[in-house]
C-alpha cells in the first residue's frame, strides 16, 4: 500500500537533471512568413511616416545665414589681379542691407553685383571670387555650387551670374525667429482661442443632440442621426463657403451680423462648429448609449430629483465622452486649415500659417517650425484621448441593462426643438451651397443652371480633378482596408515576434497624432529630395494613395483591432493544431467574421480621402489634381460658385457611396452573414 510516506508523489517521475536548460522556441514557416509581413508593414510606416516626420524636425532646426566674411573678391585690372577683399568689408563700406534685412531661408540668394557699387567696379576686366568657407557651396554660378576654398574667375560682364547663398547650420534659431515675429506667434493664441470657443459651443450642442438621440422618446431619431453625420461627408471648406453666401459681403443674412464681418473669427467658429459637430455627437452618443437602467432606477428609489439624477448619474456617466469629445473637437479645429483659408480673412491660424509659409513664401524652415508648434497640442490631445478611451472601455460592463427613456413630454419637446435647430443649421448651409452653385450670378441673377459645373473652364483641375479624387478614394480605401486589416490581424493574433508586433502597434497609433498639414509638409521634405530613391513617387497618384493610407491609418486600425478582439482567441491555436497556415485562417475565418468592420474601414477611407485637403494640398501635381484641392483653388481664384459646386459634388459622391454601401451590406453582406442568426 502506498502511504503518504513516499518521498516523491507516487507515479511521479524522478527529476532528471540533464534537461534543465532554457528552451528557445523554434519558429514555424508560418511564423517566419508573419514576421516578413510585419516587417513589410513596419517598413512601410517607417518610410511613409517616421522618416518624413523626422525630416520636419531636422528642417526646423536648419537655420540659414549669410557669411560674407568668408567670401573674398579680387578685381582684375590691366591683366593683373589686385589684392582680394572680403565681401563683408564691401558691405560695411556701402551699408548694403543683405536680403532687405529679411531672414535668410534655404532659397534666399544675393547677387554680388548688388553689393559692390557700380563706380567701384569701373575698369574691372575680370573678377576672382573665392569661397573660403570650409563647407563650401556658398557661391552659385549657373547651376553649380562652389567647392570649399574654390575660386571662380569670370569676365566683368558675368559678375551678375554669381550668386551668394546662405550657409546652413543646426540650431534653434528658427524657433527664436518664429517667436519674435508677432504676426506668426499670434497664430498660436488665435488657434487656441478659436478651438476653445468651438469646444465650448460644440460640446453642449452635441451633448444635447446625443442626449435627444439616446435618452428621449422623440420621433425620427434615425433622421436626426443621419443629418448629424452629413458634415463628415463634405470637406471643411464647404461650411466656410456656405457661410460666405449666407453672411458674406453679398450674403442673404448679412444684416443679422449687425456690421460684424463673417471673414475672421466669427466665420471660423461657425464653420468649425459645423464640421466638428458629427465627431462630437458620435462620441457622446456612445458615451450616453451605454447607460445602465438600474442606476436610474436606484436614483429614483432613493428619491433623487430629475435634476439631481442628471448631475449625479447622467453627467458623470458621460464624463469620458465629454472629455474625449472636447479633445477631439479641439484637435480638429486647431489642425484644420480649410476653414480659415476660405473664411479667415487675415486672421491667422497655425495650420494656415504652414500653408502660407510653404506655398506662399517657400519658407520651408518656418513651415517646419509651425508644424512642430502644431504637433504639440495634437500629441497631447491624442494621448489624453487614448488614456480616456481605455478608461471608458473598462467602465462599460456587458451586464448593463439598456436604458429605457421614460415618458416626459416637456423634455421631449425641448429636445426635439434642439434637434430641429441643429438640423436646420446643417441642412441650411448645405442647401445654401447647392443653391449658390446653381444660381447664374449671385446675388443678381438667381436663375438656376449648370454653368458653374463646367469645371474644365476654370483653374483648379476641372472634372479630371473630380475623377482623380474618386480614383484616390477607391485605391486608398481598398488598399488601405486590406493593409490595415492584415496589420491589425498580425498585431492581435500573430504568434511570437513580440517586439515586431508591439512596434507595429505603436506605429499604427502614430498617424492620429500627426496633423494632415504636418504630414503633407513632411512628404515634401522627404520625397521631393532628389537624393531619395523614392523621389520618383513625387507628383504621382501613388504618393497620394500612400499618404492617404498613412494619414487615416489609426482609426481604421482601431476599428479592425476592436473587431478582432471580439473573435475567440483560440481560432489561431486550433488552426495551428490542424496545421493550417495563418493566411487561410485569416481569409477563411477572421476576415469574414470582421466583414462589417472591414466595410466600415473602407467607407471611412473613401469618405475621408474624398474630403481631405490638408495633407494632399502639398502633394498634388497638375496631373493629379483633386476635387477637394480644386474647391480650395477655385475659391482662392474667386470662382466661389464653382467651388461650391465641386464641394457639393464631393457631398453627393460620398452620400451615394454610403447609400450603395448600405444596400450592399444589407443584401450581399446580409446573406454572407447568415451564420450570425441563432
Amino acid at each position: 500500500m502506498a502511504t503518504a510516506a513516499d518521498p516523491a508523489a507516487p507515479g511521479a517521475v524522478a527529476s532528471a537533471t540533464e534537461d534543465n536548460r532554457p528552451i528557445r522556441p523554434r519558429a514555424s514557416r508560418d511564423e517566419i512568413a508573419q514576421r516578413g509581413v510585419i516587417g513589410v508593414l513596419v517598413l512601410y510606416l517607417v518610410l511613409a511616416l517616421v522618416l518624413p516626420i523626422g525630416m520636419v524636425f531636422s528642417k526646423a532646426l536648419q537655420q540659414y545665414a549669410f557669411t560674407p566674411d568668408q567670401i573674398t573678391i579680387a578685381f582684375g585690372r590691366g591683366g593683373a589681379f589686385e589684392a582680394p577683399r572680403s565681401l563683408q568689408s564691401w558691405i560695411d563700406e556701402t551699408g548694403y542691407v543683405v536680403n532687405d534685412g529679411l531672414r535668410a531661408s534655404e532659397r534666399t540668394r544675393v547677387q554680388i553685383v548688388r553689393i559692390i557699387p557700380r563706380p567701384a567696379r569701373a575698369g574691372v576686366e575680370a573678377y576672382r571670387v573665392t569661397d573660403a568657407s570650409s563647407a563650401g557651396g556658398q557661391l552659385l554660378l549657373g547651376q553649380e555650387f562652389s567647392a570649399p576654398g574654390q575660386t571662380i574667375e569670370v569676365p566683368a560682364a558675368d559678375l551678375g551670374r554669381i550668386q551668394v547663398r546662405p550657409q546652413m547650420s543646426y540650431g534653434l534659431g528658427n524657433f527664436g525667429y518664429y517667436f519674435s515675429q508677432k504676426s506668426l506667434s499670434d497664430s498660436i493664441r488665435n488657434s487656441f482661442v478659436i478651438a476653445a470657443i468651438v469646444v465650448a459651443i460644440n460640446v453642449p450642442l452635441a451633448f444635447g443632440f446625443a442626449y435627444a438621440l439616446t435618452r428621449t422618446r422623440i420621433r425620427h431619431k434615425e433622421w436626426f442621426r443621419l443629418i448629424s453625420t452629413v458634415p463628415i461627408l463634405v470637406p471643411s471648406l464647404l461650411p466656410a463657403i456656405g457661410l460666405v453666401y449666407l453672411f458674406g459681403n453679398q450674403g442673404i443674412l448679412t444684416p443679422l451680423l449687425f456690421g460684424a464681418s463673417i471673414y475672421g473669427p466669427i466665420g471660423i467658429v461657425m464653420a468649425s462648429v459645423f464640421f466638428t459637430f458629427p465627431h462630437a455627437v458620435i462620441i457622446m452618443t456612445i458615451a450616453l448609449g451605454g447607460a445602465d437602467q438600474r442606476l436610474y432606477e436606484a436614483a429614483e428609489v432613493l428619491g433623487a430629483s430629475k435634476r439631481r439624477t442628471f448631475w449625479t448619474v447622467t453627467l458623470p456617466g458621460a464624463r469620458y465622452g465629454l472629455i474625449s469629445a472636447a479633445f477631439v473637437v479641439f484637435t480638429l479645429v486647431i489642425t484644420d486649415f480649410g476653414v480659415p483659408k476660405v473664411i479667415g480673412g487675415d486672421y491667422n491660424m497655425l495650420a494656415l500659417d504652414i500653408y502660407k509659409q510653404v506655398i506662399g513664401q517657400q519658407n520651408f524652415q518656418i513651415g517646419a517650425v509651425v508644424s512642430i508648434v502644431l504637433l504639440i497640442p495634437a500629441v497631447i490631445a491624442f494621448t489624453v484621448d487614448r488614456v480616456i478611451s481605455r478608461a471608458q472601455t473598462a467602465q462599460f460592463s456587458s451586464k448593463a441593462v439598456p436604458y429605457q427613456p421614460d415618458e416626459d413630454v416637456r423634455r421631449d419637446r425641448w429636445m426635439l426643438g434642439h434637434c430641429i435647430a441643429v438640423s436646420v443649421f446643417i441642412l441650411g448651409i448645405l442647401f445654401m451651397c447647392q443653391f449658390a452653385a446653381l444660381a447664374k450670378f449671385w446675388p443678381y441673377n438667381l436663375t438656376l443652371g449648370f454653368q458653374h459645373y463646367q469645371f474644365n473652364k476654370m483653374d483648379g483641375g476641372g472634372w479630371a480633378a473630380y475623377w482623380n479624387s474618386i480614383r484616390l478614394a477607391f485605391f486608398a480605401a481598398t488598399i488601405g482596408a486590406v493593409l490595415v486589416f492584415i496589420g491589425a490581424y498580425l498585431v492581435e493574433k500573430g504568434r511570437g515576434f513580440v517586439a515586431g508586433r508591439i512596434g507595429l502597434q505603436f506605429l499604427a497609433m502614430m498617424p492620429m497624432a500627426i496633423p494632415g498639414m504636418v504630414l503633407g509638409l513632411a512628404y515634401i521634405f522627404f520625397f521631393n529630395d532628389p537624393s531619395n530613391p523614392f523621389n520618383f513617387l513625387y507628383g504621382t497618384m501613388a504618393i497620394l494613395v500612400i499618404n492617404t493610407i498613412v494619414h487615416l491609418y489609426t482609426v481604421s486600425h482601431i476599428t479592425a483591432t476592436t473587431a478582432l478582439k471580439q473573435l475567440d482567441g483560440e481560432f489561431e491555436a486550433v488552426s495551428m493544431s490542424l496545421k493550417q497556415p495563418f493566411l487561410r485562417t485569416m481569409t477563411r475565418v477572421s476576415a469574414p467574421c470582421c466583414l462589417p468592420a472591414i466595410g466600415e474601414m473602407w467607407m471611412y477611407y473613401f469618405v475621408n480621402a474624398m474630403t481631405t485637403v490638408s495633407a494632399v494640398v502639398f502633394l498634388y501635381s497638375p496631373s493629379t489634381n483633386l476635387a477637394s484641392v480644386a474647391v480650395l483653388n477655385m475659391d482662392d481664384a474667386g470662382d466661389i460658385a464653382p467651388a461650391a459646386a465641386m464641394a457639393m459634388m464631393i457631398f453627393y459622391t460620398n452620400a451615394a457611396v454610403r447609400i450603395l454601401y448600405g444596400l450592399f451590406s444589407r443584401n450581399v453582406l446580409g446573406s454572407l452573414q447568415a451564420w450570425r442568426a441563432r
Binding site: 527529476s15 514555424s28 475567440d568 451564420w675
Partner: protein
Amino acid sequence: MPEPYLRIRNVSKRFGDFTALRDVNLDIGKGEFVCFLGPSGCGKTTLLRAIAGLDIQSEGMIEQAGRDISALPPSERDFGIVFQSYALFPNLTVADNVGYGLVGKGMPRADIRKKVAGLLAQVNLPDQGAKYPAKLSGGQQQRVALARALATEPGLLLLDEPLSALDAKVRIQLRGQLKDLQRDLGITTIMVTHDQEEALGLADRIVVMSQGRVEQVGSPVEIYTSPASVFVADFIGAMNFVPARVAGPGMIEIGSARFAAETAHINGDGRALAAIRPEDIKVQGVAPGDANALEVTIDAEEFCGSYMRATVIDAALGEARLKADLSMNLVRGMALTKGSRLPVALPPERLRVYPPLS
C-alpha cells in the same frame, strides 16, 4: 512500464516574475486517459499549452513518441485540441469546421466529405453538417469541436475543460460519450478539469496539481484512498483533519486517546496531522477490542439524503471534532440523535498521518 508516449521532464514556465509551472515531471503511456486536476489558477492550462506548443515552457523537455518536441511550434507537433470555448469557426458550417484540418492536404473532396460524415456520426451528430455552429446547443458544439480535433487523426488529444460550460445533466451524459469514444479510438488523451468528480469518473490516471507543482499522480482509487499530501487529501473528497502527536513507532495521540497508524515518515518534534475520511470511520459492528476503537458523543447532525453526517466528540479526543457518515439505517435502528453515545473505530489502514502544516 513500456516506453511512455509522452515524457515531461523538469518543465517550468514563467510569466515575467510569476512562476506558473515548477519543475514538472510526468510520463503518460500510449492510450491513457489522463486528467490534470487542481484548483483554478494552479497551472493546468499552462501545462496543457506547453504540451501543445502554444505557450512553450521556459525550461525543460517534452518528448512525444520518442521525439523531442520541446521547441517545436504547434504546427509541427501531433495533437488535436478542444478548448473550453470550443473555438468553432462561426462562419463555417459544422461540416466545414470538422473538415477544416483536412483541406489542403491533397485529399480528394469526396473523401473529405465521407470522412467528415463518418466523424459526425461518431460524435452522434449525423445530418447536422449543413448547420452553422450558432444553431447548435452547447453540447452539440462541444462534440463538433471534438470531431474537428479528431479529424486529422492526431496521436494525442488535448481537452481544456471541455465540459465545464455545459449544464450539469448534459455534462454527465457527455462524460460517458467522451470516455467511450476515447476507449474506442485508443487515443492518448489529456483532459484539464477542476471538477474532481469528472476526473475520478473519467481518468485512468489523475495528475493533481497545486501552485504550479504536481502534487500526486495516480489512479482515481489511489488518489482517493491514499492522498499523498494534505493538499490532495483536502482537495479531493471530504476529510477530517485533526492535530495529533506521534506517541511512539506506529502510534499517535489525539487528545489523550492513542491510535495505531503508520508514522515512520514523520520526523521532527512529533507534531502531526491525522486525517480520516468521514465514510472511513467505522460505526457498525465495532467491538470493544477492535483496533483504534473508542466511544464518542454525537454533537451535531447534518442530513445528507442517504446518510447522516454526524460531528462526534469525546473527552478523550480533547478539542478534536470528527465528522462520521452514519447510514440512515443505522440512525433509525439505534435511534441516534444529538447527544447519543456510540462506539466507533478509526481503522489504522484508513487513518493517515501527515506532517503538521507549518
